[in-house]
Symmetry: C2
Subunit: 390 residues, 2 copies
Amino acid sequence: MVENPIPEKEVYADNNATTPVDPRVKEAIQPFLEEKYGNPNSMHSRGREAREAVEEARAKIASLINGEKEEIVFTSCATEANNHALKGAAFSKKGKHIVTTKIEHDCVLNASNWLEEQGFDVTYLEPDKNGFVSPEQVEEAVRDDTILASVMLANNEIGTIEPIEEIGELLEKKDILFHTDAAQAVGKIPVDVKKLKVDMLTLNAHKMYGPKGIGGLWVKDNVKIDSLIHGGGQEKGRRSGTENVPYIVGFGKAAKIAESSLKSDRKKLNKISGKLMELIPEKVDNVVVNGPEDVDRRLPGNTNFSFHGVEGESLVLRLDSKGIKASTGSACASESLEASHVLKAIGLDESLAHSSLRMSFGRFNSIEDVEKIREVLPGEVEKLREISSM
Amino acid sequence: MVENPIPEKEVYADNNATTPVDPRVKEAIQPFLEEKYGNPNSMHSRGREAREAVEEARAKIASLINGEKEEIVFTSCATEANNHALKGAAFSKKGKHIVTTKIEHDCVLNASNWLEEQGFDVTYLEPDKNGFVSPEQVEEAVRDDTILASVMLANNEIGTIEPIEEIGELLEKKDILFHTDAAQAVGKIPVDVKKLKVDMLTLNAHKMYGPKGIGGLWVKDNVKIDSLIHGGGQEKGRRSGTENVPYIVGFGKAAKIAESSLKSDRKKLNKISGKLMELIPEKVDNVVVNGPEDVDRRLPGNTNFSFHGVEGESLVLRLDSKGIKASTGSACASESLEASHVLKAIGLDESLAHSSLRMSFGRFNSIEDVEKIREVLPGEVEKLREISSM
């Protein structure tokens, strides 16, 4: 049995924001914060020891996505990886048009906006009401000067799993680079870069029980893009900066664990989120379930509701005071108090988009957590509705 | 007494490549790899707890350099911070000329090279034989369209402390942005951003007993530059990506320790490096001491020698086998086997630049380490000279 890092009586339902570190990952990190202190670029034995650990971790991560070890570029986070993919492709200057979607993470959208300021053209595809974009939409959007398409594998708010394989097939024929942000998907659903026919794929440790501050970009062997961070030539010149050895080792461990427990984790998470998506509309009036209902096309453990007449932020704070940690949507944007761009893109009006609650589950949740939520949530929604009707 | 992370009988003389993590820093990191797992952007209590810890750390780091808390932007390393400073200033598009020096770290040089490819002009100042550039050189180099000058505070190979304050004074009058890479200096010598009259200053945790994978850019309150990594708007929109909470906390702790132990650390390190710079030329023939001799103008704990007729790499490996961890120069470039650009810039010929040995000391070294080096080094140099003369 693995120790549970979540304190007793706490229901952590914000795993899409960040997962707790798996205690086995923490164990793997420790020696590299202690006596294995070397810089992996140093020639001496402490350096070589660190280098070996980094390369072992790289192999484990590659294995999880069926890529090659040499194709993994470590970055500090998924945000950096996404910036690297988009700007790196753009600055390699083979064209000026990029295709992406309206429901990407802010880092893809804001990197795209920045590229527009630099003179690039970006097409933002409109998803359907469940968050899906279609291969046909991508096909219609691409032009002769399209250099890159970037479509996320699984949405971080509503859990939509996009048809990456089908999009990959058509882009491969057109010789257009294809990037997918798989930060939320890897470790939760099977991800096979060969099957998906992508050229670049973004990874993130802290959504799969590794630490916050390490991510990666898988870049297919024959794909050459510009670097985002230039310097001492680490990561074969693709990303410079002294490697974060402890976290890379932890990321490797997290990948290894994910590989072996993906099936059972997925089953459990589908059970938890499925149960909740069934229960809440039974217990609460005027609720909308956001995102696809089909369990095979939705991120395991992801739920997203809109409660008519309820401020999402107020609900999150009330649940928090009862020991349930949830969110209104993406954590990154939570400070801005703007309604979710994802919910607006799938057609929710401003008010309904403001009334959202995302509950996302992970390895350290249990089916009992659903019971606790069922006990607390309907009453809190009711109280907030009473207040707002006064 | 602080526990020494270096195993007994090991002489770690490569602190400029990376320092071991101070055990007190490791302690500070732990809870954030355990139950304090929140994303600082989350609204719930686990998020707020993480946010508070990040902001406390920010204040500690600002205090160490006499800056304001809000002026610290966390990055994943000094390399990213230097890229951010240079590219951020360049893309804010107020001119097209940049001034820097030939002895900067590779990340400043390679970011500058990349900017040249994008149409910017860069002037690389030539240092004198001890690695110094003069305010007069900077004054001569700047033009009407100069947007930025970037001069490092202390050189990572030969330890030269540049006259930043004097350069800052003249650039302030000309209204040109001034950046200094202080990655090697902060924590080792007093650094006061106000006194130095800089606009941006690069920080790095893993050169001051924090972990590898966290750094920062101090950006003066009124200075606006473009971002390098766009996304969810963390760090007030200046650097997006989920914050590396455990390491940020560790970096804060490292700054706090540095503030209180800077004076005693500095005294000890000057004693160690001073002793070695005196001893080696006594014990070994045909050796050149690289970098300034004046203890006040040289990074404490930094030594750099060139041994005529000796391959630096071979010497490093031989010392390693005797338990002494050293380097030929910058760790980042060690894989390339090219001679140090710093040593060539101060006038060493190719062969002498290839025969360098950098021994850099830190908090966990003692004066006894000098004794061990004295016992081992002269014999190893002699053996290598015998081999090469055969």
